[in-house]
């Protein structure tokens, strides 16, 4: 599985990348977002969801754990698992009901629910560099691999 590394100079660049990935994402896509507090995981999700035509506010789901969106009959779920103490808690919260072949799932802090999540198609690692961010994108499936190839071309 391959990797792609990019430097994102500012928020606009981050939103732009998110929009590109959104436009290439088929239903059923599972994307993991990793990185410290403030590296732009929610910003990425905002860019992704708004690029698909959502007009409203994309808020941090830290408090609610998951925020559902329906855009042009497509379901998109934005998770923030930061507050989970035990991976199994996702199961009790009904986590698996969200991971269907029709829905796109974007997950922040997936490491908090290890063992209870589906295989990701893409994993984004975000980190601070200078006043911008570095992102390392890894593919985790054939579908993710194809997306990465298109993104790189």
């Amino acid at each position: 599985m391959s990797q792609l590394k990019r430097h994102l100079v500012n928020e606009t660049a981050q939103l732009e990348l998110a929009a590109q990935i959104a436009r290439l994402s088929p239903p059923g896509m599972v994307i993991f977002l990793q990185g410290d507090l403030g590296t732009g995981k929610t910003t990425f999700v905002r860019g992704f969801i708004q690029a698909l035509g959502y007009q409203g506010v994309v808020k941090s789901p830290t408090y609610t754990l998951v925020e559902p969106y329906v855009i042009n009959n497509r379901s998109i779920y934005h998770f923030d698992l930061y507050r989970l103490a035990d991976p199994e808690e996702l199961e009790y919260a009904g986590g698996r009901d969200y991971f269907t072949r029709q829905a796109i799932c974007l997950l922040e802090w997936p490491e908090k629910a290890e063992g209870y999540l589906p295989q990701p198609d893409l994993i984004l690692h975000l980190s601070y560099r200078d006043s911008g961010r570095d992102v390392l994108i890894e593919s985790g499936s054939d579908q993710g691999e194809r997306l990465l190839m298109t993104l790189d071309s």
Binding site: G38, R46, K59, S60, Y63, L65, P68, R83, Y92, A93
Partner: protein, 343 residues
């Protein structure tokens, strides 16, 4: 009319009895914050389990406190959303079962409507219409309140809620999570004017908020300070906490002032957990009084989640003849502008 109120949307189990004639008769509360502090977060399943454990004993306690028996109750109100679905279901099921056994109506109440109207539990209470600033861990919004169920959202946070910004900034300063109140306490020891944080979105028109960028600003400020090794690290953290708190308070004050100017409504209400922040209260009081208006806020225990606000809202709506059909109803997501007004 006497109404039993049940709140179980997140970390607190709150039970209260409100009487339309005598006001609040009883309220009891169990907070899971300590439990969750051990785990470093809210654990949805633990939250539900804890609600199950405490709901009935707290209800008994409320009846004792009020000095009435269960048959004296005319209706039951419960928080139907928004919140953690498992936690909501505990309160909804218990309320529905009790209502059926007592043969009284039950009604699902919107959690944020409870917060917006919590100052109505105090005396003197604000008169409609008023502007409400709801600030908590999950929400930051400004609403124009014309009456019960008549809410117009004037502005809201586009990313992190104010309480969330407090909690995450505390985490970045190694104060633990959720550390909002710890950060506010540390800020008291900080010196003003050492650091200056931006006041997000105050340089452009509108009433929306954005607190997400303050995380990066805090981290950069903290790392620069550590790199420069300014000696007393605890003092440095306190100074940063002070500057952060001032930025959030200033931002909220500027937006509230704008809302007052825009609507011409001079009564301001603060609600939600961050409403307990003393610097925020003081700053808003000065601003509102300068405009010739008045500031209202509930007592600190009614700023955070509680059963009294749910019993109050339930009582207003049940008195207007509203009640739910015989179903258990809970919604994780529930836009407040969908609420019906009462006649």
């Amino acid at each position: 009319m006497k109404v039993l109120g049940i709140e179980t949307s997140c970390d607190e189990t709150g039970i209260a009895i409100y009487d339309s004639e005598q006001g609040l008769l009883a309220h009891s509360l169990h907070s899971q914050v300590k439990l969750h502090a051990e785990y470093g977060g809210v654990v949805p399943e633990l939250a539900s389990r804890d609600h199950i454990r405490y709901l009935l004993p707290l209800t008994e306690k409320a009846f004792q406190q009020a000095g009435i028996c269960k048959q004296d109750i005319d209706g039951i109100a419960y928080t139907a959303g928004p919140g953690l679905i498992g936690a909501l279901m505990v309160g909804a099921s218990a309320a529905r079962a009790m209502a059926m056994a007592l043969d009284v109506p039950a009604l699902g109440v919107h959690h944020m409507e409870g917060h917006l109207l919590a100052p109505m539990l105090e005396s003197p209470s604000p008169q409609f219409p008023f502007i409400a600033l709801l600030v908590s861990g999950g929400h930051t919004l400004l609403a124009e309140v014309q009456g019960v169920g008549q809410y117009k959202i004037l502005g809201e946070s586009l990313d992190d809620a104010a309480g969330e910004a407090f909690d995450k900034t505390a985490k970045l300063l190694d104060l633990g999570y959720p550390g909002g109140p710890v950060l506010a306490k540390l800020a008291e020891q900080g010196y003003a004017g050492i650091y200056h944080f931006p006041r997000p979105m105050t340089d452009r028109p509108g009433l929306d908020f954005s607190f997400s960028g303050l995380k990066t600003f805090t981290l950069n400020t903290y790392q620069t300070a550590v790199a420069e090794d300014l000696g007393d690290q605890q003092q440095t953290k306190a100074n940063i906490a002070r500057a952060f708190e001032e930025a959030v308070v200033d931002t909220l004050r500027i937006k509230c002032q704008r809302a007052i100017k825009q609507t011409g409504i001079k009564t301001l209400v603060i609600a939600g957990g961050v409403g307990a922040n003393l610097r925020l209260r003081a700053s808003l009081k000065v601003m509102v009084e300068k405009q010739g208006g008045k500031l209202f806020y509930p007592r600190i225990e009614f700023c955070t989640d509680n059963g009294a606000m749910i019993a109050y809202v339930g009582c207003q709506r049940l008195m207007a003849g509203q009640y739910d059909p015989l179903i258990i109803h809970a919604r994780a997501r529930w836009p407040m502008e969908e609420l019906s007004q009462i006649s």
